[in-house]
Symmetry: D2
Subunit: 350 residues, 4 copies
Amino acid sequence: MADILTEQQFASDNYSGICPEAWAAMAEANAGHAPAYGADAWTQRAADGFRDLFETDCEVFFAFNGTAANSMALASLCRSYHSVICAESAHVETDECGAPEFFSGGSKLLIAPTTNGLLTPESVRAVAERRCDIHFPKPRAVTITQSTETGRVYSVAQVQALSETCRSLGLRLHMDGARFANACAALQRSPAELTWKSGVDVLCFGGTKNGMAVGEAILFFDRAMAEDFDYRCKQAGQLASKMRYLSAPWVGMLESGAWLGNAEHANACARRLAAALTDVPGVSLLFPVEANAVFLAAAPAALDALARRGWRFYTFIGGGARFMFAWDTLPERVDALARDIRECAVPAAA
Amino acid sequence: MADILTEQQFASDNYSGICPEAWAAMAEANAGHAPAYGADAWTQRAADGFRDLFETDCEVFFAFNGTAANSMALASLCRSYHSVICAESAHVETDECGAPEFFSGGSKLLIAPTTNGLLTPESVRAVAERRCDIHFPKPRAVTITQSTETGRVYSVAQVQALSETCRSLGLRLHMDGARFANACAALQRSPAELTWKSGVDVLCFGGTKNGMAVGEAILFFDRAMAEDFDYRCKQAGQLASKMRYLSAPWVGMLESGAWLGNAEHANACARRLAAALTDVPGVSLLFPVEANAVFLAAAPAALDALARRGWRFYTFIGGGARFMFAWDTLPERVDALARDIRECAVPAAA
Amino acid sequence: MADILTEQQFASDNYSGICPEAWAAMAEANAGHAPAYGADAWTQRAADGFRDLFETDCEVFFAFNGTAANSMALASLCRSYHSVICAESAHVETDECGAPEFFSGGSKLLIAPTTNGLLTPESVRAVAERRCDIHFPKPRAVTITQSTETGRVYSVAQVQALSETCRSLGLRLHMDGARFANACAALQRSPAELTWKSGVDVLCFGGTKNGMAVGEAILFFDRAMAEDFDYRCKQAGQLASKMRYLSAPWVGMLESGAWLGNAEHANACARRLAAALTDVPGVSLLFPVEANAVFLAAAPAALDALARRGWRFYTFIGGGARFMFAWDTLPERVDALARDIRECAVPAAA
Amino acid sequence: MADILTEQQFASDNYSGICPEAWAAMAEANAGHAPAYGADAWTQRAADGFRDLFETDCEVFFAFNGTAANSMALASLCRSYHSVICAESAHVETDECGAPEFFSGGSKLLIAPTTNGLLTPESVRAVAERRCDIHFPKPRAVTITQSTETGRVYSVAQVQALSETCRSLGLRLHMDGARFANACAALQRSPAELTWKSGVDVLCFGGTKNGMAVGEAILFFDRAMAEDFDYRCKQAGQLASKMRYLSAPWVGMLESGAWLGNAEHANACARRLAAALTDVPGVSLLFPVEANAVFLAAAPAALDALARRGWRFYTFIGGGARFMFAWDTLPERVDALARDIRECAVPAAA
């Protein structure tokens, strides 16, 4: 069993471990005693690191995982009778077991149509203006995922257009950045440009998929919006007593640049797979490959054959398969996957 | 500043780091890929380790911290219009920022009088029977902390007496075991004897104070009570995607016996400090030293002097100070503390 | 303005007042003192009246309005990480401002496809089985509206088929009976046949639209499911201190048979309007007229003209209009509406 | 049984019925149709009536009962991690089944010591400043009950002193006015003086105990604080569809002055009972009689004897009994009660 488990699989970028830079910082932080609940030097240094990286004096909080980070951020923008506009494919809608509704005490998620998983100003406006009576939850926020659950990225212009629409509608803009680093790597734009300079109010910056064990950062670019957010974290069971183990890895990632290097590597692996499959009959891309995900359309028989060869991946109705790459993906393992896809696809297409 | 921070302080056992056994397991778990969300071998092994240690086929869940573990466990025993009986000094009441109320959607905590922080069958019964009308939340659970926030331990007989009272009143019994290992070490009784064999329904077993970075285990001894608790964890932002980093340290702790050894060491340090102070004039114990805490009564001037020497500790109205010891406490540092207390106390008492 | 307001309008059956039978009982109940919070004779008599009408020893509770009744009933069937399957047109989804999510602390509503607003066993099963992992709220209940928001009714056989599907999937069946009386009148079947004999677990029986000022009854046919529901009502602000004013009108309605007579009249008015429009060019029924609602498809210009004549009604995208009738609808006013629709439609269609 | 139920009892002022002025307005409102959800003329007139009475352009909302009104008002001032300071005897703490915690998603009530049920600036400050760390819910509001649950009233100067303390601590001031009219009658001061002119932010003005069937008004004196409160009412199941039946009685009460006359009568009845008992041996007042309540200290045997004579009342540990008077209390019935108390007390005291 150990072989199967340790041999790399690409069902999720969560299968990866802790990257060397994060590990080293954690090891260094493990020397001796430190004050609890974030009053330690590592936590200060990590928060300052984010402020440097984002070129602004933002408020920084740490949460254990992305579900909690997103849910707390959205809850802070809403009351229970407000609603949040998101894509149908948004993680908050599809894979957080109702966490946004739980943390907010009932805020409803309103699904807006997308193009390949990308919200548009038009779709946001249409949903926001569909109802304006007290019998339906009042829209108060929009959440976009960068990079998206479909492996796409919003350009700076697209984020700006969305934030302008939000402003005009009285809505706040939240960014689920579980794979924010992958978006930065894909766009080659600065974190500042992709967020507050483009009108994003709150960012949840994902560390887990980026190479850490646990831990996401929540950045409020308007400090007033962060009022009492520390109480919220505490009450929601998201304040680590030994906070240095959440913050030190961020120090390792930010100061070394690994946050970006890891993402660049993951994105490159996605492109590598896509490139290796361009001429495989019966196999096509469901979405353009822009970040660290490859979504393939293929015959069910081909995917079954691939699974029988030991590959793990998520499938979708109608013959889709998802492959996700991480900081530690071995290029040769990508090549092996590509070979197997080709071999499984050809007889199926024949 | 580094000196002050890394030199051992005893304000909290949360100041300690990760113990070698937990660290080694985490390092081992960091090799290669593993399935996410607990479908990995480490998580299975940790859960089985708990079942072995507790000699029963309990349901085991992992949460990030004690606030979340306690709150989710209590919420699973209650609906929003139910209430939970606890001690005035209970962590759920005093230091979780209303987390039990938040996770349960409003369940009220009812304070019962204690003897040195220990609930008694009489006090529980008195509170449970005080109101029996629908205008006040109906009691549904009792929570006790083992060892208590005052450094005391409930004997097996005391737990049994409480659980019998609970049964007769239709109440469930929850144990906040943030320092459960310290209680086991103090009482030299098995985990089984201290929990399900004595009528405890749910235990939150603390790993953080015991030597880990993050992570508490929630054990349901009646599996029926755990129905859909996995959904609760997920929705509450308490399901780690890279679960192995929460579970592997438990494997290291349980299989090596460090969970108990760490607690024994911490308890011994508390006794060491207490023993060194028996003849100090003006200094006395607020509570018997049974686990890893020492609560001292001393003149404010003495405590001020102690603080000026660089010691960090929590103080209480009227002249009390708390010192907590952990797996890594250096005996010589305890001795240094004892010397400083003596020197600060004598002039103050004179 | 008084003329416009008091002249009958059919935008909603909520525009109607209190019927004579309810009013008389309220007047009688207003003599002298009565114990509070439901410990009065009227409340006992109303609850017994429901047990007689439904031919079963059900548990009966009273709430102020339908939003609260539905939300509390659904919350009692779910925990926050569970979900409720409903139609896209369900009032709980479209017109309760997220109340079900609020009362339950986050339970998600899952939309199932319908035929004219009627859920089918197939659509319920498809939604219930779409996800079975902990990353998505677990379905625990189905809610159907009888009669539906589209003016349709579920036959006894349809309710039975749905309840069988629910049983096989481990789901509870809730009926939003804001217009339950209209369904009974339409189907000419007994309340028992339409509910517990067909597998309904909980019914919210609407009194407001049926001719009362405020007040809905919540009936649990399995008394075990009603455990502590009285506490829920109290905590949710739904326990009337002067309960007799909620219960006495029910006594008046149930004992006189007005509950059914009122509904029969309202249904007849709907049929009257529909019958008068069968030959109007450009006007057609969006749904079969089975209860007290008429949904018309008509040209926007026709509807605009109708509104200019002083009629109030809800419109829908694409040219739909809704008309609702109540216990007090004047047939001549229906005829006047029919005439105006005809006159407005003909030039528009020409 | 009818005799016992209809013969006046003074266990609660909720035992009274609907007063003539409220009834007449309701009857008048029952003529014909009216728009739903508060878009009717009665609701506008009632809201304007409050603005006239309070001499300010406040925001006015209507809720079904006091528990809901208080809970929604407090929830609007807090987030789940905030807390509300109240008296130990406060209705929100003792008799709302955890409703404030439920509506707010977990806000904790903090008990401050009182003098006869009256909060003082010192007690509020002491509780507010007891904790200032994120491990305990942050105080955000103070709630006082006017008149109090102990039958006392806060003077204008006392309200002012409390509001000044609140301002200096960053707290909002809420007034539970379930018996606000009784306080106005007792103090002979205007509603404006007792509320916004003295620094009250939000008032819940009780109509039920004052002579209505159901219905409380929530007044926000700072309109900005009322933002989206209409959505909150709707989501919480507190928006009446046939709103006129909640608002018309208010019109009747406000325009006729019955709101004040009813309270004056009730207060006079309380004074009448107290005056009749001044020389009864063994019977004394637990609190000064200022509004419509009389709290008596008497021997348990005396109270038992009184109960055996058919009187209903609430008792308290140690020999206390509460009697509450309403708009419809018959003076001769008060006299009968006084006689029976005297007769029961004398042998007991002998």
